[in-house]
Symmetry: C2
Subunit: 315 residues, 2 copies
């Protein structure tokens, strides 16, 4: 089973309103939807669609935490929840006639004891884990090197980790040598402090990042696919066409596909081609954490994977 | 005890964000506050501040219903909750650097059995009730004449009702002869289908409304105070000055003051003067359901109450 760790769980709420939203207005919400959210939850959902069993480990607290757990239950997602005293955060997305506006609650502060409890439960789940996925931002209260600690605990168990986070949480985790890190273009650019305007610049930045610890760096580039740099080679994988829709959650679908490919022991060129097709297949779906399988099957044979070995030799 | 009936309970959520809100944006919420809401809840809170014990009867369901009950508990508000299968609605108010934007969830549909259960509990509470306050809109599922039914059940128990609602819920309730109805200027204008530009027009419309059932009609006019028309006379009561702040909940504070004055058996001129001062004292307070007592005490002696008997004779 793939263990997906969700430190910053959320109840994602979607409001539909039939007017344009402007500040100062008062709106009658036409429909309300609730869904367990957080990047690792999206990963676990897509793993299920890919036929790869996932198990979620998350903090949950208060009435929102109950709602979070109830939704995982009804979605049939295996999960283990560590109780926190605070109330699990909500995100509220207001979809009006034209676009969506999102309000993200900060989430509860995790105490030292709650963090220690999560580590203990995590260690108890490692023996059954084929791979660990660490996705999302850190909640207030957990140490900035939380992901480093989680990776360091997995290593002696021979469990590899895929890490998808950014900023300080990512930097602090690198020395623990995650198997894969997946920054997006913007996150990598922020990390290296440079704009990375082309494939060569991205490749070079990914290689520098790999030099700081991670075994393989996969950079997601939205509609442009991915660039990957690792010990077995470096590649660019591109989808044949751009999808219209909602790109939220496409990165999480990509991570799910990487995780599924890794536990299946596939070649990197195949993993990357799968991942690009899966990620693109998330865009036509309105909600995050779901893909459209026919789109994935249609795009998959047309994904182009090219070696970037010449860039490695050049520099 | 004054029994306040809340058919459309809510959890009022306030988000503070440090930017201006525009559609399409994504905002990090700086602070989140939750509070049991709904107009009757505001009335019950202000009754407490006026030293008059209130008891709340409300529908509550789901995790939001739990949160609603927990907040009433921590606020020390006596309450009896009737369980509904649906989840109690939320209102989300986003306060940005300039103004507030509000999103109102529709609330759960109340089943026939749930409505029958509320009526049964209500009847059991009537013997202890000195007065009933019926405030707010009707949730989906309850009959449009819900307030008429509640008033009709109170009458044989010699319990009088103060009604604060609008539109069809108000129209349908009038034949049951509530003791007091409190439309605001806008609601009365909608009900009679005319703009009501001056005191004479308001007085005339209030008298017409009284002809349709209610004993006394009190029209709230925001910063202009109130106009009242009833069997003992008709009056205009005006505050000495306009308050700066948040007028949300000022009408509920007015209703609380009317209810407190009625159970204390005060004269209408005193009730109206109190009510105008209490209503104005709600404006300086940021949240609904709370007044600023020093403002009330300062304004009270300066409220001017004038008889409108000349308008009754003229027409």
């Amino acid at each position: 089973v793939i263990l997906a760790v969700c430190l910053n769980a959320a109840v994602d709420v979607t409001y539909h309103v039939s007017d344009r939203v402007t500040a100062g207005g008062s709106y009658r919400v036409q429909s309300v939807r609730h869904r367990a959210g957080g990047k690792a939850v999206n990963v676990a959902r897509v793993l299920g669609q890919l036929g790869e069993p996932g198990r979620l480990l998350a903090f949950a607290g208060g009435t929102n935490g109950e709602q979070f757990g109830a939704d995982l239950q009804s979605a049939g997602l295996q999960h283990v929840l560590v109780a926190v005293a605070g109330d699990t955060r909500r995100t509220v997305t207001v979809v009006d006639t034209v676009e969506a506006t999102t309000f993200n609650e900060p989430g509860p502060r995790v105490s030292e004891a709650e963090w220690a409890e999560l580590l203990e439960v995590y260690v108890s789940l490692l023996p059954e884990a084929e791979l660990v996925v660490l996705s999302g931002s850190l909640p207030p209260g957990v140490p900035v090197d939380a992901y480093r600690q989680l990776i360091a605990l997995a290593t002696p168990n021979d469990v590899r980790c895929v890490l998808d986070t950014d900023g300080a949480a990512l930097s602090a985790a690198l020395p623990a040598r995650p198997w894969v890190v997946k920054p997006n273009h913007h996150e990598l650019s922020e990390l290296v402090g440079a704009p990375l305007p082309d494939v060569a610049a991205l490749h070079s930045a990914a290689r520098d990042l790999a030099g700081r610890g991670p075994v393989t760096v996969v950079v997601s580039r939205a509609a442009d696919g991915v660039i990957a740099v690792g010990p077995d080679g470096s590649w660019q994988a591109q989808p044949p066409e751009q999808q219209a829709g909602n790109p939220t959650g496409a990165g999480d679908s990509l991570v799910a596909a990487l995780a599924a490919g890794l536990v299946r022991g596939r070649e990197w060129t195949e993993i990357l081609a799968d991942a690009v097709a899966v990620s693109a297949a998330a865009v036509p779906v309105a909600v995050a954490g779901e893909i459209h399988p026919p789109t994935m099957r249609r795009l998959r044979p047309a994904v182009v994977v090219r070696s970037l070995a010449h860039l490695s030799r050049e520099s």
